[in-house]
């Protein structure tokens, strides 16, 4: 079983997520009149958000680029689909763990509020990864639809990036905050399960018949 | 030694010819090791099996002999043997071709003899 490349891809994505999150912090730092504490306390959330973006984009790219690439280099199909799940898991788990660690050491309210949301965040990143997978599967089966889909996804996420940047200073009412973790975990978990099912179906039905072309 | 091989003749026969010519010219001396199958393959960019076939023919002709683990060597009297064989080939093949061509062109034996003994300065 050769999953090392996938593990490395996952680690690379954690690196990119951290880097992007830092950029958010720097932007916040400049935007808020060179006050570091506010933006810094949002770092865990930025990390989770970036992880979600990379999970979508990379999962989609994987189906279009890395799948044919690795198959052409003598990978088995089983290795590629296990590898893909592994990469997504490494990214989601790694970023959530780092975020958790930061929540514990960083001062301020936002980090502490986030801790209870971390399980939901982990599932959310995975759900986004599976969303990317689903888009990738569609793109593989119907190239034209896939290209349109990737444009839409990019637009949605650049919008979301702006929203997260802006929401850093937003505060939620207490009642919402308290009921959120349980509900969020449940909903996100359900979405994740549905998307996972779609992907597994693809991997079982379409992957064995997939033709490698470079 | 590197010359280009052509496509008119089997490659292994060309390898035989090359080595024989090298022996006649004194490029390879009797008792000396000749290039190995792999060396020939690399030299001419050919398949080693083809080179081996060429060397095998020379072994069969008694031009080369094998020393286990050391390679192929030029046999004593190889140059003389090559000369003899080529002479025979000249008589049996090339001369015969010449005679066939001459007869198809209507050149008589007398004319041929005259050409051969006429002391034609150009030849």
């Amino acid at each position: 079983m050769k999953l090392k490349t996938w593990f490395q891809l996952g680690l690379g994505l954690i690196g990119w997520s951290l880097l992007c999150a830092m950029i958010f912090v720097v932007v916040g730092f400049i935007g808020e009149g060179f006050e570091l504490l506010g933006p810094l306390s949002c770092l865990p959330m930025y990390i989770l958000f970036c992880a979600a973006i990379f999970a979508v984009l990379m999962s989609m790219t994987t189906y279009l680029s890395y799948l044919p690439l690795y198959l052409s280099l003598g990978s088995t199909r089983k290795e590629t689909w296990l590898g893909l799940h592994l990469m997504q898991l490494v990214l989601a788990a790694g970023c959530t763990a780092i975020a958790a660690l930061l929540c514990l050491i960083l001062p301020g309210d936002p980090p502490r509020d986030l801790i209870s949301l971390l399980p939901a965040a982990l599932l959310a990143i995975l759900a986004f990864a599976k969303l990317g997978s689903a888009a990738g599967c569609i793109a593989l089966l119907f190239p034209k639809v896939g290209r349109a889909l990737s444009v839409v996804l990019c637009m949605v996420f650049s919008g979301a990036a702006g929203f997260v940047g802006a929401s850093a200073t937003m505060s939620f009412p207490d009642s919402f905050r308290l009921s959120l973790p349980g509900r969020a975990t449940l909903i996100v978990g359900a979405v994740l399960a549905a998307l996972l099912l779609v992907e597994l179906l693809f991997q079982r039905r379409a992957l064995p018949r997939y033709e490698v072309r470079l | 030694m590197k010359e280009l091989l052509n496509e008119e003749k089997s490659i292994y026969l060309q390898i035989c010819d090359r080595i024989e010519t090298d022996i006649l010219r004194g490029v390879l001396l009797e008792g000396e090791r000749v290039p190995s199958t792999n060396e020939l393959a690399r030299l001419y960019t050919i398949n080693p099996a083809t080179a081996a076939k060429g060397l095998g023919i020379l072994v069969d002709r008694g031009i080369l002999y094998k020393k286990r683990g050391l390679g192929m060597f030029v046999a004593d009297g190889a140059a003389e043997a090559i000369r003899l064989r080529r002479k025979q080939e000249f008589m049996e093949v090339k001369l015969r071709e010449l005679l066939v061509e001459a007869s198809s062109l209507g050149i008589t034996t007398g004319e041929l003899i005259a050409m051969l003994t006429g002391g034609d300065e150009d030849v």
Partner: protein, 292 residues
């Protein structure tokens, strides 16, 4: 001694049959040439032999083990694809460096020194994306992956397609060097036969998805001849033999004859009999009427 055996391989796409009942056995320690016109099914065959694409019917086994989804078997195979990368291909954005890195992780016997040597010799620019370099460089990448993989059975798809004649000669020289050092098995698909013929121990000829010939190159070329002369004389001499690609100009007729094993061309002084090169034989066997 390993053996890669393919039995009854058939490949059907929606609208056409790419391979039809192909049976062949590749023995270890040989260089095979796979020749055929564009679209004859060379790439399809190679990708099925290496379990990269599924066959519609038939089996491929390495020493008795099916190669499909078999890590142990795949570790001994390398199919270095022809990189024909269109701008919209998913692989176009991947850097050469990244491709080579992935190759080094997937091939267990990868030889980085050899890879570095070839990168230098071919002047490959590893930092460029695969969609952004010319065909010659992509051919060089195909060759680098194949040779550095050190796989027991190595398949190269059109490795010289984008190379000029000097790079082609360098490739075949390097190939023979690697082969004499390691005795690996190579299968090289090409339609540029000239410099390749002398390197192939055996040739496999595909025509319209069918295997029409698999034989020792020397033996094949020893049998094949071109016969030219007065049409009636040529017909008399070649009667009953397998004739290909006949051309007639006035009274003169030329045919390429490939006698079956045991058959010989009768001696005749009326016709001219010439040896043929692999390229000429290929043209005779695979050329189509109206294109000669």
């Amino acid at each position: 001694m390993s053996e890669l055996v393919c039995k009854g391989i058939t490949k059907r796409y929606k609208d056409k049959e790419a391979l039809r009942d192909v049976n062949l056995t590749l023995e270890s320690g040989k260089i095979y040439g796979l020749i055929g016109r564009n679209g004859a099914g060379k790439t399809t065959l190679l990708s099925i032999l290496t379990a990269q694409n599924p066959a519609t019917a038939g089996t491929v086994t390495l020493d008795g083990e099916p190669v499909w989804e078999n890590r142990h078997a795949l570790d001994q195979l390398c199919f270095s694809r022809e990189l024909n990368i269109a701008g919209n291909s998913g692989v176009a954005g991947i850097k050469i460096k990244e491709y080579l890195k992935a190759a080094s992780l997937y091939y267990p016997k990868w030889d980085q020194n050899l890879a570095d040597r070839l990168i230098k010799a071919f002047k490959i620019e590893p930092k460029k994306a695969m969609g952004k370099v010319n065909k010659g460089m992509l051919s060089a990448v195909t060759i680098t992956v194949a040779l550095a993989s050190k796989a027991a059975f190595t398949f190269l798809d059109e490795p010289v397609a984008g190379l000029d004649v000097i790079a082609r000669e360098f490739f075949y020289k390097t190939l023979v060097e690697e082969y004499t050092e390691t005795g690996r098995t190579f299968v090289i698909s090409t339609h540029i036969i000239e410099e390749a013929a002398a390197v192939f121990e055996e040739v496999i000829i595909l025509k319209d998805g069918a295997l029409i010939c698999m034989e020792n190159t020397e033996a094949l070329l020893e049998r094949a001849v071109r016969v030219n002369g007065l049409a009636a004389d040529v017909d008399a001499v070649t009667a009953g033999l397998a004739c290909h690609h006949s051309e007639q100009i006035g009274r003169s007729k030329t045919v390429t004859v490939l006698p079956r094993e045991g058959e010989t061309l009768p001696d005749s002084r009326d016709v001219t009999v010439q040896p043929v090169s692999l390229q000429q034989l290929f043209v005779a066997l695979c050329g189509e009427e109206g294109m000669g």
